[in-house]
Symmetry: C2
Subunit: 110 residues, 2 copies
């Protein structure tokens, strides 16, 4: 079963750019949306909306609240994400193709 | 003389994130602004505004017009950029630290 988010949740993820070094994804959902479990490589995340999310991984959860216009690092990880706020989640992910690590930790974000 | 844009044009470029794999810059200027010549490594560019710019490199110029919300690739290059439109230029650059090439071509953007 693919853990690529564009396959697990094509309604929310779309590829907006790709070459041999990066793949860039745009993510958009609405309040109440829950993704299937999926895998991110090491990525830069840039938020285009403010949102509240619950991250599910390793049989635990962590809630995060992030402001629009925030740049952060998403270490390689497997998780599911749930929009628990009242706003859309709108995010750009720049995935690094040279990423090497894969963890199941809940990272800082989406 | 440094060609790092945060040194050539600190009024417009700021570092919003950095680790061993990437550096992320936010760029903001106003109509009429002209940068000094500076160098970009291979980077992903995401536009937060729509703008018109004139790129100066290799004793030539090229004009570009880019819509807000556009993701594109900026190959390693040296150039100066001039805001020739009526809107601010507001852009996020994700610089890749594993970038190898350096050209003086005028790339597709800023």
């Amino acid at each position: 079963m693919s853990m690529d988010p564009i396959e697990t949740n094509p309604e929310s993820y779309k590829v907006v750019f790709e070459n041999d070094q990066v793949r860039v994804l745009e993510y958009l959902d609405q309040p109440g949306h829950l993704t299937k479990p999926h895998q991110h490589p090491d990525s830069v995340m840039y938020t285009l909306s403010s949102f509240s999310r619950r991250l599910h991984a390793n049989n635990t959860t962590r809630d995060v609240e992030i402001a629009s216009g925030t740049t952060s690092w998403l270490s390689a990880q497997i998780h599911a994400g749930e929009n628990i706020g009242s706003t859309d989640t709108h995010v750009i992910f720049v995935e690094l193709k040279n990423a090497s690590s894969l963890t199941t930790d809940i990272g800082p974000q989406i």
